[in-house]
Symmetry: C2
Subunit: 169 residues, 2 copies
Amino acid sequence: MTGQPAPPAMPPRAVVEFTCTGTAVGKMRNELDVRMVRPMREQFTLATDEGAFHGGDASAPPPLAMFVGALTGCIMTQIRAFAKRMDVSLTGLRVETRVEWDWEAKGRIYETAPKSFEMDVFIDSDDALEKQEELVRKARRGCFIEQTLGQKNTIRHRIRTPEGWRSID
Amino acid sequence: MTGQPAPPAMPPRAVVEFTCTGTAVGKMRNELDVRMVRPMREQFTLATDEGAFHGGDASAPPPLAMFVGALTGCIMTQIRAFAKRMDVSLTGLRVETRVEWDWEAKGRIYETAPKSFEMDVFIDSDDALEKQEELVRKARRGCFIEQTLGQKNTIRHRIRTPEGWRSID
């Protein structure tokens, strides 16, 4: 837990933008070219797949495993980054996350809905419990993924056609 | 794009549950033991890290890259799984995703909020455009991550103390 991060050189406000180009290959594998394009540029090569149950080759984790891992990693990053800035000692950190979804068959296809999200935080610190609690509270507000899940988002979909884009409601 | 998945042997309704235990190691790396625990059991070993900008060693992708990849992979999995079940031909699939967040400094720490989500879908199919559109529409409703982002979720946090659990509002 050495080498805590220095505060980044960011302006007072910024837009953080990521893009991803996913290409379907094999049975159920998706090769993902993920890029941060603002405020700085970085590139990441990822992939998802499915197990035999869903007709895949299990060559990469499924999207839901990656999603639950990203949610967990995001709050952990925030807790570590903010501990330094809030002068909270932190000698160890573990987070246990549980996420449930409802699944319902609709003929041959199905629909899904989120059911519950729980995160248990284990902090090793010499500081008062109140400081640790305030750290987690602030980390939640700095966590991109938690803030995203905490509000109703609209995702705009378009499909490419020979005559141009068509929106999918 | 061969070997489309068979419909899984699922009951009419089910709860799908994932857990993740994240352990902080090194500077900003999180080692993630992700498990599906219901309705079947699978285990995945993942990790996140941060780049030098955030004080990390870039030994794994950052949580946001994993999140955007998971969102893209999830709708792609659904489109491929449902194409078979809805009898829509599918010889190629590409999805281009863009996600923006607002970032704002608050003293030495910061807050974030989601700003926009856009997904462009490129389908290679011999079927009528209306069938392709209906496929994407149904895939959205079957996509766990899209359905999660489309509603306001509550994430319950607890911190472990010597006297037991304490909730963090």
